[in-house]
C-alpha cells in the first residue's frame, strides 16, 4: 500500500448564509442570493477539489462541541435534517453523508496513543452539526467523497489558550499519522471564521447586502494582516501572532481547527491561494487553499 498523504488544506468557514444564498435543493429556505464574493470563492475551491481528486475530506467543526475529548464521526452513513439553532430561518438542510469509519478509527487510535482523550461517535441517530455540513456542502456539494468529522473539544477555551492550541497541534500530528498509514489522499478542512465580531441583530431581509460590512474595523485590519502573511507563506509569523489575533479580533480560529490543520500539514511555509474574502453578519471569512502537491512538485 502506498503511503497516504495530505494533499491540501483549506480554510473553509461555515456561515450557514453561504448555503442559504446558493439555494441548493437540500436546504428548505429560499433566498435571492447574497454573499456572492464568498460563494464565488467556494466555486474556485470546488474546482481545486475536482483537480485534486481526494479520497477523503476531514473537517474540524467548532459547532460540534464536546466536553470530554476529541470525537470522530464513526457511523458509515448518517442522514437527517440539520437545523441551525442560531439561524433556523436560513439553514434547514437535509443531509446524507458517507463516513470513512476506517480512517476515523485510525485518527482516534493515533490521538489516544499521543495521550489525548478521543472517542468514536457511533450513535446512528446523531444529528450532524451545521458547521460540518456547511463546510462540506460548500467545498463539495456532490457529497460523493467520504468524510471524517471531528468535534471541537474547545480546549483552547477551557484551558489556557496556548495550552489548548498545543493540544490541537497534537491532534494534527495524530491525524497526519493516521492518513499516512491509510494509504489515502486526504484534504483537510478547517471550518473557521477569522475575525468573529458580529452584529447582534439580523436585517429583515437577511441577504440585503447593503447591510453587510465588517462589524469591527480593527478586526478587519487583523484579517487583512493575517491573510497577507498567509499569501506570502509566512506561516511561522502567523503562528507567532496567533494569540494576539485571537484575543484582539475574537477570532474563531481559537476553536482549534486552524492549528489542527497546520500541524497536520507540518506548518508549510508556502503561499496560500486566497479564493476570496467576505463578511457575514460582520464576521470575517476567507476561503484559502494550501496545495501541498504543487509545493512538493516544486
Amino acid at each position: 500500500m502506498p503511503k497516504g498523504e495530505i494533499i491540501a488544506g483549506f480554510l473553509a468557514p461555515h456561515p450557514p448564509h453561504l448555503v442559504y444564498c446558493e439555494n441548493p435543493p437540500q436546504n428548505e429556505p429560499r433566498s435571492q442570493g447574497g454573499w456572492e464574493q464568498l460563494r464565488w470563492a467556494y466555486e474556485r475551491a470546488r474546482k481545486s477539489i475536482d483537480r485534486l481528486k481526494p479520497d477523503v475530506l476531514l473537517v474540524h467543526s467548532p459547532h460540534w462541541v464536546t466536553q470530554l475529548g476529541h470525537h470522530f464521526l464513526a457511523v458509515p452513513k448518517l442522514s437527517g435534517k440539520s437545523v441551525d439553532p442560531i439561524f433556523p430561518n436560513l439553514f434547514r438542510y437535509n443531509f446524507a453523508l458517507d463516513v470513512d469509519v476506517e480512517l476515523a478509527r485510525a485518527c482516534h487510535d493515533e490521538a489516544r496513543q499521543r495521550g489525548l482523550v478521543a472517542k468514536l461517535m457511533q450513535n446512528p441517530n446523531f444529528r450532524v452539526d451545521y458547521g460540518t455540513i456547511t463546510t462540506l456542502h460548500m467545498i463539495r456539494p456532490q457529497w460523493d467523497i467520504p468524510v471524517v468529522g471531528i468535534s471541537a473539544n474547545n480546549s483552547p477555551y477551557y484551558l489556557k489558550m496556548e495550552e489548548g492550541l498545543d493540544e490541537m497541534a497534537t491532534l494534527g500530528e495524530a491525524t497526519r499519522a493516521a492518513i499516512e498509514n491509510s494509504g489515502k489522499r486526504a484534504v483537510l478542512l478547517a471550518s473557521n471564521t477569522l475575525c468573529h465580531w458580529h452584529f447582534h441583530e439580523e436585517p429583515e431581509i437577511p441577504e440585503d447586502m447593503s447591510r453587510e460590512h465588517p462589524e469591527n474595523y480593527a478586526g478587519y485590519l487583523w484579517d487583512m494582516r493575517i491573510i497577507e502573511l498567509l499569501r506570502q507563506g509566512k506561516t511561522r509569523e502567523v503562528f507567532r501572532l496567533l494569540p494576539d489575533f485571537i484575543r484582539e479580533a475574537f477570532a474563531e480560529v481559537k476553536s482549534g481547527a486552524f492549528t489542527w490543520m497546520f500541524s497536520a500539514m507540518g506548518y508549510p511555509e508556502i503561499p496560500a491561494e486566497l479564493h476570496g474574502y467576505g463578511t457575514v453578519i460582520g464576521t470575517g471569512n476567507a476561503v484559502m487553499e494550501w496545495d501541498l502537491t504543487q509545493a512538493r512538485a516544486h
Binding site: T66, Q67, V83
Partner: protein, 274 residues
C-alpha cells in the same frame, strides 16, 4: 395564585439517561420527586429557561405548538437517545415576545420542523412533565444577555402568563459549578471536581434558603466568578425574575456531581400572593 411552583433542575442528561450510576441516582430521584410536587399543583404552563439553548442574535422563543422527535446529546450520545414530545403554550409565548421590546430586547419566535430542542429542555420536561400535562413557554439563553436582562425576560413571561389567567410554574435548567473532568473516569466515583467548587456550591445552596433576594444576587455573582458556573447561573436569574417578590427561600432536594460539575435539584418556596 397563578404562580404555583418554581424549580431549578440540572440540564445534564447524565442523571436522566443513567439513573443507575450511584453518584447520579440522588439527582434523578430528586428530579422525579420534583415532578411529583409539580403534578400536585396542576399547572397549565411551565416557563422554561435552559442554559443549553444558546441564542446569539435576538432572544428566541419556541413558537411551534407541538414539538416532537428524537434528540441525541452531542456529548453523551453513547448513553442513549432522548425522545421528546412537547406542547408549547403559543399564546403566552406570543405575548412574552411582544413584551420584550419595552425593555430593549428584540425577540423572535421559532417555528420550524426539526429545530434542535436542547438537551436541558428535553431532560427537564422528561422529569417534570413526562405526561405532557402542562404546555411550555421555552426561552433561549442569549449569551449576550446579562443577569438583569434575564430577570426582565422572566418577569415579562410571568406577566404574560398571569394576564392570560394561566396557573404556571417556573423552571430554570442548568448546573452550578462548571469545572468538569477532562479525562475518562469511573462513573461510580464521580464527584464535584474540586473541594473548593463543592464548598462554594454548598454555600450557594445555603444562601438560596434566605428570602433576601438582593443578597442572593450578590452571592450568585460571586459564585459564578469563582466556579466557571454554568452560564453565570442565568437560569437562577430566570427563577428570581419570574418569582419576584414572592421569593421566600428554597429547599435543596438533591445536590451532586455531573462528571465533575455541580448540579442540584431545588424546590423554591413562595410567599402567599397578595
Amino acid at each position: 395564585m397563578p404562580l404555583a411552583a418554581a424549580f431549578l433542575v440540572p440540564g445534564s442528561p447524565l442523571p436522566y439517561l443513567r439513573p443507575d450510576v450511584g453518584p447520579w441516582t440522588p439527582l434523578a430521584t430528586a428530579c422525579r420527586r420534583a415532578g411529583e410536587l409539580l403534578a400536585l399543583q396542576q399547572v397549565d404552563t411551565l416557563l422554561v429557561y435552559s442554559t443549553q439553548w444558546i441564542a446569539v442574535l435576538d432572544e428566541l422563543w419556541q413558537m411551534r405548538g407541538h414539538v416532537h422527535g428524537l434528540h441525541v446529546d452531542e456529548n453523551w450520545y453513547e448513553f442513549g437517545d432522548l425522545p421528546f414530545d412537547l406542547r408549547v403554550d403559543t399564546e403566552v409565548t406570543a405575548a412574552a415576545i411582544a413584551a420584550t421590546s419595552a425593555f430593549g430586547v428584540r425577540s423572535k419566535g421559532v417555528d420550524y420542523d426539526g429545530f434542535p430542542i436542547d438537551t436541558g429542555t428535553v431532560v427537564a420536561n422528561g422529569f417534570l412533565n413526562a405526561g405532557g400535562q402542562a404546555r411550555l413557554v421555552i426561552a433561549s439563553n442569549n449569551v449576550y444577555h446579562d443577569w438583569a436582562t434575564t430577570e426582565r425576560l422572566a418577569a415579562s413571561a410571568a406577566a404574560a402568563a398571569e394576564s392570560m389567567g394561566r396557573r404556571y410554574a417556573v423552571v430554570g435548567v442548568g448546573g452550578l459549578s462548571g469545572a468538569l473532568f477532562r479525562e475518562e473516569i469511573d462513573l461510580q466515583t464521580d464527584h464535584v471536581a474540586s473541594a473548593e467548587d463543592d464548598a462554594l456550591n454548598r454555600d450557594l445552596l445555603s444562601a438560596l434558603d434566605s428570602p433576601d433576594v438582593a443578597a442572593i444576587r450578590k452571592h450568585a455573582a460571586e459564585h459564578a466568578g469563582r466556579t466557571r458556573a454554568d452560564m453565570g447561573l442565568k437560569h437562577l436569574a430566570w427563577i428570581l425574575g419570574a418569582v419576584g417578590e414572592r421569593y421566600a427561600g428554597a429547599e435543596t432536594l438533591a445536590y451532586g456531581p455531573t462528571y465533575g460539575s455541580g448540579a442540584a435539584v431545588i424546590h423554591f418556596k413562595l410567599r402567599d400572593a397578595g
